[in-house]
């Protein structure tokens, strides 16, 4: 579980995120949505320990991030349990898929890769359903396949917290679904605290156990998609008029109202 208490972040003296308090439970998918430039990625980077907190604290297990510079060992300890998957899937490097996944175990690798590590890497690739790509060059894969490989790589870290920054925005529908399904399955099975920034709202409503709506540097609403999504909230945060429908499972689906 991660607890954020009154978290605030400043950049060049200006507050870009403030008063963020929430509790992120393990085994659940927490999806952050909100307009561009409102602090979604900032919040993710703060949880990664990459940005300095101006106020408040973030607690994960018995470790905590406090305002002021965090460096060296304490930051290392914090990051040890956290995996982070950036949006960018470029991997212009002459390595095979298997080698890329092995790199996920960076801290424990010696000059010789032992059979156990190779076996663990292959297991992750099997879980991601791409074991057949093991011997291929990473640069020769499609963006969607690369993202699956890179996810297998961060899984090698055996994290407790999984942070994903718009992981599917460059992927086609098939890979979007297979990656998010995989994330959901692993989150449940391994008890991760999974936090995903998503742009596609309908996709967000479908996969979120807990939805965090961020706008103007503040959490505007939090809860299950069914609880929080209303036409008013979308109009307030995005400035767009929508109609909120329901899918077969009762999850909200939004449809823009086309202006006349």
């Amino acid at each position: 579980m991660i607890e954020l208490e009154n978290v605030g972040i400043h950049r060049q003296g200006r507050s870009i995120l403030g008063g963020v308090s929430t509790q992120l439970d393990a085994g659940k998918i927490h999806v952050i949505i909100g307009p561009n430039g409102t602090g979604k990625t900032t919040l993710l980077n703060a949880m990664l320990g990459e940005l300095t907190l101006a106020e408040g604290q973030i607690q994960c297990g018995n470790q905590r991030l406090l305002p002021g510079k965090v460096r060296g060992k304490s930051l290392h300890g914090w990051r040890d349990t956290i995996a982070y998957l950036p949006q960018d899937t470029t991997a212009d490097i002459d390595l095979t898929v298997l080698e890329v996944v092995v790199l996920g175990r960076l801290g424990k690798l010696s000059l010789h890769i032992d059979d156990d590590t190779l076996d663990a890497a292959m297991q992750r690739l099997e879980q991601a359903g791409i074991a057949h790509l093991a011997g291929r060059e990473i640069a020769s894969l499609s963006g969607g396949q690369r993202q699956m490989v890179l996810f297998a790589q961060v899984m090698m870290r055996e994290p407790k917290v999984m942070l994903l920054d718009e992981p599917v925005s460059a992927l086609d529908l098939k890979h979007q679904i297979s990656l998010l399904n995989l994330v959901r399955r692993e989150t449940r099975a391994r008890g991760w605290v999974t936090v995903i920034v998503l742009h596609d709202l309908n996709l967000a409503f479908q996969y979120a156990d807990n939805l965090l709506v961020i706008a103007q540097g503040k959490i505007q609403a939090a809860g299950t998609p069914r609880e929080v999504i209303t036409a008013e909230l979308i109009a307030q945060t995005y400035g767009v008029e929508v109609e909120v429908l329901q899918d077969r499972l009762g999850n909200p689906v939004i449809q823009p109202v086309s202006g006349g």
């Binding site: 990664l48 990459e50 290392h76 990051r79 040890d80 956290i82 995996a83 982070y84 998957l85 950036p86 960018d88 470029t90 991997a91 490097i93 002459d94 390595l95 095979t96 298997l98 080698e99 890329v100 790199l103 996920g104 960076l106 801290g107 690798l109 000059l111 059979d115 190779l118 076996d119 292959m122 297991q123 690739l125 099997e126 074991a131 057949h132 093991a134 011997g135 060059e137 640069a139 020769s140 890179l150 790589q153 961060v154 870290r157």
Partner: protein, 347 residues
């Protein structure tokens, strides 16, 4: 747990790839050794390769004269300097994630040239030129590195900025160098020019030993970080998320590379293209697993400079053609070929 057939097949395939890469490294080691023999054999008095081998190993009959030539005049400086430049270039490229990065293109060589020229212009500050010139070159090379280092340590600076900073250094030190040459006497200008061309004949056993030890220690330190460097090539954020302290790693590698290349450059002068091209050859042959690509860059650099040294001694028989000119002339078409050649993806 039973390992599925697919899984063990993939692991076997991976092991086969590793073995193949080791074989390439060994092959390059062999070719480099051969080029070393030829480098030693070539010179004002030509020796045969078998004479060189007998003299090096101390086995079999040989003339005392041959031993004297091999052991006192034909030092394997090309091998060591080439290795240092190859490794330095490889890690500059890794560090800045840019295939055009090298100690030469980032202005460290130009700074060394300026330092050498300055020291020559001021009469070596009372020291013998054999000592003052390398010291001047080393100091200015480290000043250039320090500037890059400061850029790299700024939190908001991106790698592109560091490269542009390096190019700015290159122009700055080149123009300062031109200024010194413009202001100095023709004799001094000639001396400076000769240093700038790069020459391997200035080596002595102590300078060779120093360069070799520095290069070896630096390469071992780089090797120890080989996994982190591979992760860094996947992008800073990704490396960071894999637990790499990116800023600290950048600093450390920059210092190692600066010390290694500055040491090599300060004794032999400006030798371009080895640091740029050798890493490309290494990656083409063994990919980017740093466990293989780093030793391969070392070998490719050593091989290229040894071969260039042989060429420089045999273009005009009896005379010495500056090796820096040879590497540049041979290096340019080679670089173009590397850029335009279709990329190999499988090994």
């Amino acid at each position: 747990m039973t390992i599925s057939a697919d899984r063990s097949e993939a692991i076997i395939a991976h092991r086969a790839r590793e073995r193949k890469r080791w074989r390439y490294v060994l092959l390059f080691l062999l070719i480099t050794a051969v080029s070393l023999v030829f480098d030693i054999a070539t010179g004002p008095s030509m020796l045969s390769p078998s004479e060189v081998i007998r003299s090096l190993t101390g086995i079999g009959e040989r003339a005392a004269m041959t031993d004297a030539i091999v052991r006192e005049f034909r030092l394997p400086m090309a091998l060591v300097v080439g290795a240092a430049l190859g490794a330095g270039g490889a890690q500059m490229q890794t560090l800045l994630n840019n295939p055009m990065a090298s100690p030469y293109t980032l202005g460290m060589a130009a700074a060394a040239g300026f330092g050498a020229a300055l020291s020559l212009a001021f009469g070596g500050f009372g020291l013998h030129p054999m000592i003052s010139v390398p010291i001047g070159a080393f100091i200015f090379s480290m000043i250039a590195a320090l500037f890059l280092f400061m850029l790299a340590s700024m939190r908001t600076v991106r790698t592109e900025t560091i490269i542009l900073g390096g190019i700015a250094l290159l122009f700055l030190f080149q123009s300062l160098l031109s200024l010194i040459q413009f202001l100095s006497s023709p004799e001094l200008s000639q001396q400076i020019l000769f240093w700038l061309f790069g020459s391997l004949t200035k080596a002595t056993w102590p300078t060779l030993a120093l360069t070799a030890v520095v290069t070896l220690v630096c390469c071992l330190m780089l090797m120890a970080d080989s996994w982190k460097l591979a992760a860094l090539r996947m992008g800073e954020m990704r490396a960071l998320s894999l637990g790499v302290n990116v800023r600290q790693l950048r600093m450390k590698i920059l210092i190692i590379v600066a010390v290694m290349t500055a040491t090599a450059t300060s004794f032999v002068g400006v030798i371009g293209f080895i640091g740029l091209v050798a890493p490309h050859i290494a990656r083409m042959v063994v990919g980017e697993d740093q466990r293989f690509s780093l030793p391969m860059s070392v070998l490719a650099g050593a091989l290229m400079l040894s071969a260039a040294s042989v060429l420089s001694k045999s273009i005009v028989p009896g005379a010495l053609f500056p090796v820096g000119i040879v590497t540049a002339i041979v290096g340019v078409p080679f670089l173009l070929w590397l850029i335009f050649a279709p990329r190999r993806r499988t090994l």
